[in-house]
């Protein structure tokens, strides 16, 4: 009982410190970054969506490491689950999972619509809210709905992991192409004074690669969970 009360008192003290420091917030906050992005963002990166321009051009280094973290997490889940590829022919007596007919029919109608919407969100990353990460999650959900249709569907996990590693290599190669045309690493490879429409080529190709990588990674994680111990 003493522990809970002392914990609550400590958290209330932290809240009090936060409230007194928030009273002078307008002195701390700096507007220079926002003014720079809204004036130079469109002509430098070529994208109408400023957020996509930031995580694909000004801060590409962070996105590369985030893709690397996804790769490491998928490998970690595969290692811990000790998932082997050959199907184990175990027949469990009390394990019949029968999905209702309604789910199966609806999944058959919804699957192409979800896939199309996911690809639209990926490709239109620089013109409207969206992008590689968001679209990749939607495509992963669309592929997972296939498990409703047929619960004995097998996914060859080794091939999925190999494709994912090659996609990551492609990501690193395309982002370091700018060393030869502009003289600095990890930015757009089209020179700064070219036409604005040419700069969108780089954005679209990066978005497609990131979206495919995120989708395959999430499908691999989900397959490892579903096959754990069966």
């Amino acid at each position: 009982m003493i522990k809970k009360i002392s914990l609550i008192l400590l958290l209330l003290f932290i809240l009090f410190v936060f409230i007194t420091s928030m009273s002078s917030f307008s002195d701390i906050y700096n507007n220079a970054g926002k003014i720079f992005f809204s004036q130079n963002g469109y002509t430098d990166t070529g994208s109408v969506n400023l957020v996509t321009g930031i995580y694909l051009d000004y801060r590409l280094f962070d996105s590369l490491f985030e893709a690397a973290i996804l790769l490491i997490a998928v490998s970690g889940v595969m290692l811990i689950s000790e998932h082997t590829i050959d199907e184990k022919n175990a027949t469990f007596m009390i394990d019949k999972q029968k999905t209702p007919e309604l789910f199966v029919t609806f999944s058959r109608i919804l699957y192409p619509i979800m896939l199309l919407f996911g690809i639209y969100v990926i490709v239109n990353g620089h013109l409207s809210p969206g992008g590689g990460f968001q679209g990749g999650a939607i495509v992963a959900t669309a592929i997972l709905i296939l498990y409703y249709i047929d619960i004995r569907k097998t996914v060859d996990v080794h091939r999925v992991l190999t494709i994912e590693k090659f996609l990551f290599l492609g990501l690193v190669v395309i982002s370091s192409l700018s060393f030869f045309t502009r003289g600095e690493l990890f930015t757009n490879f089209i020179p700064l004074d070219a036409n604005i429409e040419y700069k969108a080529i780089f954005l679209t190709s990066m978005n497609i690669l990131i979206g495919a990588k995120v989708a395959l990674g999430l499908v691999a994680i989900f397959t490892a969970f579903l096959k754990e111990g069966r």
Partner: protein, 184 residues
């Protein structure tokens, strides 16, 4: 009025967070997590950030509850492997004891809030099965000693409870082994 809606939504978020912390059943908290993600996504849109809202809805309300459901339902099962050769048993007394053994196991499993899952006809050595397929208990019958032998993992706490409960029965013997080493 326009200033009231974000404040009300933030208070709703606090109420859902309190409900998650203080609830006891693990399985119903998953629905709270899904609604928590949706209310948070609405607040992100009201703070002029539609990109973050799409990411939160796609990941926090579709993929995360799916993974939680699978991992929670895996933790409610108790897998028993039956290796008793029913063709070789001719004695009726041993058949009765077989039925009694399963009644004891059923009571034990109900007491610990688990579900029992019985399977048969799997080939393979014992320690391979416990690590690969996560089998919890292997039942077999020894003809020389005329006893039922139950094998399980040494590090499991359920085996300790099982040893205490079947101490008084003389036709059941429990053998525990460490994972990764075989017994002879």
């Amino acid at each position: 009025m326009n200033d009231l809606i974000p404040t009300l939504l933030q208070i709703l978020l606090i109420i859902i967070a309190l409900a998650i912390v203080f609830h006891k059943e693990n399985f119903t908290i998953i629905i709270y997590i899904s609604s928590f993600g949706l209310v948070a996504a609405t607040l992100y849109v009201l703070n002029q950030a539609p990109d973050v809202a799409i990411a939160e809805v796609a990941i926090g309300s579709a993929i995360i509850p799916l993974i939680y459901v699978i991992s929670i339902s895996r933790q409610r099962e108790f897998i028993v492997l039956d290796r008793v050769d029913h063709d070789l048993i001719n004695d009726e007394l041993i058949d009765e004891k077989n039925v009694e053994l399963y009644q004891i196991l059923n009571k034990f499993v109900d007491h610990n809030d688990l579900k029992m899952n019985v399977c048969a006809n799997i080939k393979g050595s014992d320690e391979d099965l416990t690590t690969d397929l996560n089998v919890d208990l292997i039942v077999s019958f020894d003809h020389e000693k005329q006893k039922f032998i139950l094998k399980g993992k040494q590090s499991s706490i359920l085996m300790d409870h099982l040893i205490k409960e079947t101490f008084t029965y003389d036709y059941i013997e429990i053998v525990t082994f460490k994972e990764g080493e075989s017994i002879d």
